[in-house]
Symmetry: C2
Subunit: 188 residues, 2 copies
DNA sequence: GTCTATAGGTGGATAGAC
DNA sequence: GTCTATCCACCTATAGAC
């Protein structure tokens, strides 16, 4: 924690989580660390580099959530846990979720593309093994994965944008119900 | 068109559609109209009022798209056309779609709430008449409506955020395919 | 590594003349 | 209704002393 660069990164991440991307300014980050804004430039080339570092660490956080799903013992349980992890991440880290999944990526995309692909690939793998096990209808795993991802993302993002006047608890139940409805069509 | 207020509103809307909400500044709008920034304050109390007017007109545009769906002759056709209209709006007015459906509404919500509710109610009505006609499984219309809305919104917003490397054409086909998959579970 | 001083930019908003 | 002049707030970033 003595490492100045780490302290800056953590401060930037905290500010980001509290107030969104716009509230991350060199001044604000510096103030929280307890230095002046110019000091930051010793550790990050410019603001964009700092924000990129914050996002990258956020993506790793997301990856950690997803990874838990691999504890499941059967393909279907791993798929179900993936949906659970996705929901948990969205509700526990809404600002991160918003930035990763609800904001157009201008300029930064090349840097983040591998992480995006890895995420999607994870879901495709979960779907593929369910199809192989005969638990899901036959079909192109990537297509089915898009359907599932879009569905859970749609639910989550409508909730986060404030479209439904749900409390978190009622939303969790609506989420489960809606995903179940989708799976009625996907299973048989 | 002689009406200065209308000219200002149109200029603001154009700038908004071209560059998103952030690019709407009093200076930029004034320049396009051909006046100075201070002149705008004769017609709009402040920037927020101007942006609110832009959003409100955007919502009416969306309403126009949806309204076309009522031309359908059967409940199911009206529901199908609603999905079509939603997709058309998203692809033809992406900046508007992003703002209405993908941006958290801080402060402005009270003003827009009625329009939000009207939109959701429209979909609930389409679902209800399909259930009544026996075309959709029995269930709470509002719940089913959320499922459908979330699904199409999820597809559209993943596309708009750049998550899938689809062209518009391949996306339209993926959209149709995914919605069909959902309806396999909803119909029977 | 961090500071002070400072340059240079964008944006919202008001006062008062015309 | 529109202008000029102006203020204020806030931002990124650099130069050079310590």
């Amino acid at each position: 924690m003595a490492d100045p660069k780490t302290r800056i990164l953590n401060a930037a991440r905290d500010i980001f989580l509290e107030g969104g991307a716009d509230s991350v300014t060199m001044r604000a980050v510096a103030e929280r660390v307890g230095v002046t804004a110019t000091a930051l430039y010793r550790h990050f080339e410019n603001k964009e580099a700092l924000v990129r570092a914050v996002m990258s660490s956020g993506f790793e956080t997301f990856g950690g959530y997803l990874h838990r799903a691999l504890r499941g013992r059967t393909p279907m349980e791993r798929l179900r846990l993936s949906g659970q992890a996705y929901l948990d991440f969205a509700l526990e880290q809404p600002e991160l979720y918003r930035t990763i999944f609800m904001t157009p990526w201008r300029g930064v995309e090349t840097k983040m593309d591998p992480q995006w692909n890895a995420t999607f690939q994870f879901l495709v793998d979960r779907v593929r093994e369910c199809i192989a096990a005969g638990e899901l209808k036959k079909g192109e795993p990537a297509d089915v994965a898009v359907t599932i991802w879009a569905h859970v993302h749609g639910l989550v993002s409508l909730y986060l944008v404030g479209a439904c006047n749900f409390t978190e608890k009622t939303f969790r139940s609506a989420y489960r119900q809606s995903v179940d409805r989708l799976f009625e069509g996907l299973t048989k």
